[in-house]
């Protein structure tokens, strides 16, 4: 079984300050982990993914995440927030079972607000 917990439902930061969105996971297998972003009235966009290669993963728009197996965490960070980063962020886990059986499990989401 797999699950993912996003520790904050809402995060507020000022423009230009660092962003930290926290995610913990549980998986029976070696997991693949993802962060997706959802802007209002738009579809989900993949920010970055971890698939058992480098533990520090760089994504689009300056975001990165570090896979820490000992802490079962995959927190999303960005050094300097921009107004356009305001959106809903989802942490997603997928176990590496057979391709057809592998499913995505979504966290509950974190709403990021960026203050001017």
């Amino acid at each position: 079984a797999q699950s993912v917990t996003q520790l904050d439902s809402h995060v507020s930061v000022s423009e230009g300050t660092p962003v930290l969105l926290r995610c913990n996971y549980s998986s029976s297998y070696s997991p693949s982990l993802f962060w997706y972003v959802q802007h209002p009235n738009k579809g989900l966009q993949l920010l970055l993914k971890y698939t058992s290669a480098a533990t520090l993963v760089k994504g689009i728009n300056g975001f990165e995440a570090e896979f820490k197996k000992s802490e079962t965490s995959f927190h999303l960070t960005k050094p300097s927030a921009h107004m356009s980063d305001a959106a809903e962020y989802f942490c997603v886990v997928s176990d590496q079972g057979s391709g057809s059986a592998r499913q995505l499990t979504f966290g509950s989401g974190t709403q990021l607000t960026v203050l001017p």
Binding site: S32, Y36, N41, K42, G43, L44, L46, K49, T51, F90, Q96, G99, S100, Q103, L104, F106, G107, S108, G109
Partner: protein, 117 residues
């Protein structure tokens, strides 16, 4: 990558009626998925739709309520039947890339925002 379009983008429906949502992909894909996102909630998988076979439904979802068609490798429909206000949600189509080895990226459509009165 895969580009996914959905029709309609939004609709307002009356209780007891049905709505069919279309999903079109710009490339052939093996696996298509339908998700529901209730207001303020995360995404929940409704079913997996593979071409040439019956859709596989997740716990809590049944074919009579959410019939799915998958006539070819680029198209699928989801019908929300006998709607009630509790069905008000965003319904998203998703596909999994067929290249990339053990890791296959999953792409999402823009969603269909359904309101049931």
């Amino acid at each position: 990558s895969a580009v996914i379009s959905q029709k309609p983008s939004r609709d307002i429906c009356q209780r007891g009626t049905s709505l069919t949502i279309q999903c079109q992909v710009d490339s052939q894909v093996t696996m298509m998925f339908w998700y529901r996102q209730q207001p303020g909630q995360s995404l929940t998988l409704i079913a997996t739709a593979n071409q040439g076979s019956e859709a596989t439904y997740e716990s809590g979802f049944v074919i009579d309520k959410f019939p799915i068609s998958r006539p070819n490798l680029t198209f699928s429909t989801l019908t929300v039947s006998n709607m009630s206000p509790e069905d008000s949600s965003i319904y998203l189509c998703s596909v999994r890339a067929t290249s990339g080895g053990i890791y296959n990226e999953q792409f999402f459509g823009p969603g269909t925002r359904l309101t049931v009165l």
